[in-house]
Symmetry: C2
Amino acid sequence: MNQNFSERILKTPASFIREILKVTENDEIISFAGGLPNPISFPKEQLRESMERIITEHGDKVFQYSSTEGYLPLRQWIAKQYKKTYRNDIEPEDILITTGSQQALDLMGKVLINQGDVLGIEEPGYLGAIQAFTMYEPDFAPIPLLEDGLDIEYLDKILKEKKMKLLYTVPNFQNPTGLTYSKQKRKELCEILKEHQTYLIEDDPYGKLRFQGESYPYIGSFGLERSVLFGTISKTITPGMRLGWICTKNKELMRHLVTAKQASDLHSNIFTQYMVYDYLTNYDLEKHIQKIKSLYLEQSTAMQKAMKEYFPENVSYTKPKGGMFVWGSLPEGKSSLELFHKAIQRKVAFVPGNPFYVDDSKMVPAFRLNYTNMKPPMIRKGIQILGETMKEI
Amino acid sequence: MNQNFSERILKTPASFIREILKVTENDEIISFAGGLPNPISFPKEQLRESMERIITEHGDKVFQYSSTEGYLPLRQWIAKQYKKTYRNDIEPEDILITTGSQQALDLMGKVLINQGDVLGIEEPGYLGAIQAFTMYEPDFAPIPLLEDGLDIEYLDKILKEKKMKLLYTVPNFQNPTGLTYSKQKRKELCEILKEHQTYLIEDDPYGKLRFQGESYPYIGSFGLERSVLFGTISKTITPGMRLGWICTKNKELMRHLVTAKQASDLHSNIFTQYMVYDYLTNYDLEKHIQKIKSLYLEQSTAMQKAMKEYFPENVSYTKPKGGMFVWGSLPEGKSSLELFHKAIQRKVAFVPGNPFYVDDSKMVPAFRLNYTNMKPPMIRKGIQILGETMKEI
């Protein structure tokens, strides 16, 4: 054993995507590999005005140390939104501002996970969550993700076999698959979880980016005591300022989260909190989001059309009604890594499926495509090249 | 055992200071309890100009996701400063931008500490460090802090008895004591640590705030392989935006820190990083710091003068030449908690010594005073009341 470092860090995978993104920084590459929101989603001029205004109106306060829980008016605004959307009883004290959703993951790991605790996660699942939770050395229990949400039968079996501490989900336009849990599946999941002591995280960065169909209630809204929601402004206002939140009505959990947050970074950037609150109260967020959704629908449509035209018939893919990603599946036995290496030579990039699996040494004949950062003609060209490459592996 | 939460969070103390600060929010209180920099240290107008400029010059980049290591020009600037000050071989790749120094503490705990690892810390020590490290369940080894730095004999004994993983220090104007390690002590400490596998953290938020005398080289600069420096803009530009850094030439440690940082919050606020870099290159930081130091010298002088006049002779206190704090010691057997409760009734607040000790149930006849947030006449009045109260316990 290397005694110089902690066991937890030696277990944590360095991000494979990080390595891929270095390759794709080259401008000549048609990249479906990233996970960046389109810059159209940054309301630059309005944020500039908000900054001016908060310095003038609040002076020193926007530069000074602040409270761990976060800026109260912002927490009030968030609570009100939840109330409006879900007719629920969310109050400002149920909201903790975090340094992006990534910190929300870290805090949940900190306050809940002892070494060896069972942690349920979608398979395939969000790799940032795998990375964050690995630090707390859980026993991961991957639950297959079906077209309409988690495989409930499989989950039920695991829940009966083991005490599961925490279940992590992304129910809307999941990363990496783009899949969304059906309303029926949400109800069933809630009913099953009620019988156990398992905390449920619903991480929801993409819910607001639905460009077709109607939204469903969150799983915890069907009455779950250990329900935890994550929210963020990363996909609708700006990711670079790292602002997210945790919402839970579980008081004891919230108290521990605040202590963990204080130990982790004292509080989140207060200037950003004032700025975002000013933006939310002075401009029309829904209208802004509409603009993002129109673009993403156009890009998604171009990709779906091109995939239908150019992908071999034995390659399947998801048809998301929102969010930023599509998940493709190669025929059994084909290697997405081989496809990746061949495609890169032709200047097209994507993310092979492996890093979205807890056991990333597994051969995964699948891949993730992002469509939010390319113009439709380039999407078409990239998919055509990818389709041709598929026939050669 | 409460199986709902992690063992680490159940061990972590909620901050006592946090509770005190709630009491002192009342405007009628003369408070020496806080640890806030004076708002004079926020260059508001210049930061406003910098914000305008970075949006104009860099556009979308200041709002988009960014790299975990931090904004390269800022890391270059920091490396250059270290080179200038210490004639050392610090390079940009030796700098990791963090979400304040508090995150630097969390990351060091994450990558180094296994449960039960021995962690040396000054006694009394910085309570934010005690809180952050407690999360990783170390076996704390408190080392007495003397007038000129750590008790080297005591440390040497501990180092020979146990394998110490990490030693945490604040060598300049320490929080809570205001004490500074002598040059001789720094050399001795470095020599002793060279014989062991112990990582040394030098946390330096106050080093730039020296208003009398000359600065000393950092301990690791005498040639220590496992040397780690923390820096921050919290006391010289703004604490509310949470920007700090870790500096180490230990490549393996840096690689693990980057992975831990990515798992913790992906990256620090990139807008803030651009803004601070713009500020540093377009304005005169040294001139700005001179203004802060002039004020703090005036406030410190007022407090020292008043303590000499009003404190009983059996009460001793430190005489810092920089930073933000003074540490006072009551005669053995006296209770600083009793003093606190009596003083609060007379509308004067400070922090009793307990929370600066790893074992905070210990009776500590000592206290911390902050002088950076009161005008000299109020400092004088508060110290007079405190002196009178001391005679009654």
